[in-house]
């Protein structure tokens, strides 16, 4: 399938290099150089993925992202930022960006992430059909509705937390290193980005552990990685 990408980037040199790499990878690319035009383009057409620079003339990346989310909530967004410090805002999912790359970035890595993102979307569709419901302790993970329930109460999870939990549930009792989780859940792992796994595991623990300070479901194996224990031993008094 020939996917249609929207690139919003004001720098001609970067835009040109990206066009080379992305068209080589088989994607069709439409480029806008300023925020206002990007929002107009979003209004005209639904894209399969949006690559969005944060610092833009006209309207900045945050505004364009809000605009996109208001119209097409499910279109994945990858932010291109000059500051890795902004990654927290991006990944905090305030605006639902799915990924980010910090300049200077490798074009090959970016193409790899785009592929991973599309692959993940496809896999989710298939997995949901294969095993619609996974259970552990008092929890139920509904993969069709992408929802975690404790009894009948829905537990709020972000997209990425859901993916992480889903992956761990499918491989109980097996430890994964952080790099493996990054590869398999996030789709790619790059320097300066790995700690996001720790943040997500922290947040996931706060949702599914009885005492997040003494985790019993998502446990650490020193020097190895993380393991999911669906039926943890009862805490000793």
């Amino acid at each position: 399938m020939n996917r249609q990408l929207l690139l919003v980037e004001d720098d001609d040199a970067i835009a040109q290099a990206l066009r080379l790499h992305l068209e080589e990878a088989g994607y069709r690319l439409h480029r806008e150089a300023d925020g206002q035009h990007a929002m107009a383009a979003i209004d005209r057409q639904r894209y399969d993925l949006v690559l969005l620079d944060l610092m833009l003339p006209g309207a900045d990346g945050w505004e364009v992202c809000r605009h996109l989310r208001a119209r097409h909530a499910d279109v994945p967004v990858i932010m291109l930022t000059a500051r890795s410090a902004e990654a927290h805002r991006v990944l905090g999912l305030e605006l639902g960006a799915d990924d980010y790359v910090a300049k200077p970035f490798s074009m090959l890595e970016l193409v790899a992430r785009i592929r991973a993102l599309f692959r993940r979307i496809e896999q989710l569709g298939q997995a949901g059909a294969a095993a619609p419901e996974l259970r552990f302790g008092p929890f139920r993970l509904d993969t069709t509705r992408r929802e975690l329930l404790r009894g009948d109460e829905p537990v709020p999870l972000t997209l990425r937390e859901f993916d992480l939990l889903h992956f761990l549930l499918k491989h109980p009792g097996r430890p994964f290193s952080r790099g493996e989780l990054l590869q398999r859940v996030w789709g790619a792992g790059f320097d300066g980005y790995e700690h996001t796994v720790n943040s997500h595991i922290n947040r996931l623990r706060s949702r599914i552990e009885d005492d997040p300070r003494e985790p019993r479901r998502v446990v650490t194996v020193w020097g190895v990685g993380y393991r999911f224990d669906p039926e943890p031993e009862a805490p000793r008094p």
């Binding site: 500051r83 910090a102 720790n198 990685g225």
Partner: protein
């Protein structure tokens, strides 16, 4: 407690009041003196002809000269009665009969009352010659004070050019002076006191009003200065009034401005040095990158044409390596600039440090054969930290990366984590050549690795990765110190305070 201090206005008013009092006293005393002079002149002028009149009216007085010492004669008795009468009519005067040489011959009063028997005849002659008044002469009562008088010469006898004697009347005798002093002093001082008090009060009231108005800007300035001082908490609390406080504040301000100027000057110098070093560090890989790209563009590849594809690949790999170097450098500079800004924003969260350390080590295990990175020591258990996860990971990565780049191949880089009371202690050790002298020295002293920047002999900047790690440690209330490495190599210890349980 802060001692109360009089405000500048109060002190000004106090000084004004004192000056006014002094001025009042001076004016009063001068006026009193002038009034006294005038009174004496008037009295003397009024009584100018008194002695002459008496001599003309009672010529028998002059006869005393003809029978000296005869107090019991008929003439003597008459003269005595006359003098008595004169002094009764005007008790303020004292009447004396003088001989031709000015010696006192007769007087009315207690025996021995006259202590100064010789009267200065020059004053008497001046008086008779019509000199300017007031004219003062001898007080025969010996008060030592010269007194106004009236005098007349007895008519000279026939054939004798010298007068036979003089009638000498002291106009402001002791009795008169006593009464005048009693009455005058009281009235004068009372009046003066009232006038001075009233004047003082009116002037003070006006002074309070006008001084307060005039010193309003001064007080505002003092209040602002005090507010500034309290906000800055830099200078000591001022002593004295507003003006003194302003002077102190000005002094403190000047010191601050001078210190700041000096600091800025130093920072500018550091900055210039940093810029020069950054330019150097960027130029080196960029020159190499540019050279490789030029080679590709021109097809100037080494080796035989048959190996063209392999040669192109090798040149491109070299170019990519240089490009990565530029990227890493710019990233480090960017991070350091952000961390060194006045108020870096930390994205704090509570996380398990043991997991991050384990993960960071694993990051180096994957895909890098030499030198190996390994965890050492027993599992530390769960160690929670409240901090910026990304920055802590960056610090750990920099420490391990630094060790990996300097350790010889096959010699492992060892990372350990343990709890030391309320601190987590992470030690990264390698068997490389050890830290350069200045870097080691500054870490031992706990000094910043960035201010001033460390220059490498090659001209570039050194220790960027460690500087970031150090800054991250400091921002989290921890430290980065070198540990003794007796077997050679480098042992760096990152101490971070753990989250409260």
């Amino acid at each position: 407690m802060k001692p109360a201090r009089a405000s500048f206005t109060t002190r000004l008013l106090l000084v004004l009041a004192l000056l006014l009092l002094g001025y009042g006293a001076f004016v009063a005393l001068t006026a009193r003196q002038f009034a006294h002079e005038q009174a004496q002149e008037s009295l003397q002028r009024l009584s100018h002809g008194l002695a002459g009149h008496i001599v003309a009216q009672w010529p028998e007085l002059t006869r005393a000269d003809r029978a000296p010492g005869d107090g019991t004669s008929a003439d003597g008795a008459a003269r005595k009665a006359l003098l008595q009468m004169l002094m009764t009519v005007n008790p303020g005067v004292q009447v004396y009969l003088l001989d031709a040489d000015g010696r006192v011959q007769h007087y009315i009063g207690e025996p021995g009352m006259v202590r100064q028997h010789q009267v200065d005849l020059q004053a008497v002659r001046d008086f008779l010659a019509g000199a300017d008044l007031p004219l003062r002469g001898t007080d025969p009562m010996g008060s030592g004070v010269a007194r106004i008088f009236s005098a007349a010469m007895f008519p000279p006898r026939a054939g004798d050019s010298r007068p036979p004697g003089y009638l000498y009347v002291v106009l402001d005798g002791a009795a008169r002076e006593q009464v005048a002093a009693q009455v005058g002093a009281d009235r004068l001082w009372q009046g003066l006191a009232w006038a001075a008090l009233a004047g003082l009060l009116v002037t003070l009231a006006l002074g309070v009003f006008s001084f307060r108005r005039l010193s309003l800007p001064l007080r505002h300035l003092a209040v602002q200065m005090d507010g500034y001082r309290q906000r800055e908490a830099a200078a000591a609390a001022p002593t004295g009034d507003e003006v003194q406080a302003l002077a102190q504040a000005f002094g403190a301000l000047r010191s601050r401005v001078e210190a700041q100027a000096e600091r800025e000057h130093r920072q500018m110098a550091d900055h210039r040095e940093m810029m020069a070093s950054v330019a150097h560090d960027l130029r080196t890989p960029l020159t190499a990158l540019h050279g490789h790209l030029e080679a590709l563009a021109q097809g100037a590849l080494p080796g035989a044409p048959a190996d063209a594809a392999g040669a192109r690949h090798a040149v491109m790999q070299a170019a990519l390596a240089q490009s990565r170097k530029v990227g890493r450098l710019s990233q480090q500079l960017f991070e350091l600039a952000a961390l060194q800004s006045g108020d870096p924003v930390l994205q704090r969260e509570r996380f398990a440090l043991d997991e991050v350390v384990s993960d960071a080590v694993q990051k180096f295990e994957v895909g890098r054969a030499e030198p190996p990175v390994m965890l050492q020591g027993v599992p530390p258990g769960r160690l929670e930290l409240e901090g910026d996860l990304q920055l802590i990971e960056r610090a750990l990565t920099n420490l391990i990366d630094n060790a990996v780049r300097h350790a010889p191949a096959q010699q492992p880089v060892r990372v350990s984590l343990r709890r030391d009371g309320a601190l987590a202690e992470i030690v990264v050790e390698d068997s490389g050549p050890g830290l350069p002298g200045e870097l080691q020295e500054r870490l031992v002293q706990g000094q910043s690795l960035r201010e001033p920047p460390i220059r490498r002999l090659s001209g570039g900047i050194g220790g960027l990765g460690l500087a970031i790690a150090q800054r991250v440690a400091v921002l989290h209330g921890g430290s980065l110190r070198p540990l003794p490495a007796p077997g050679g190599g480098t042992r760096l210890c990152l101490l971070l305070p753990l989250a409260a349980p």
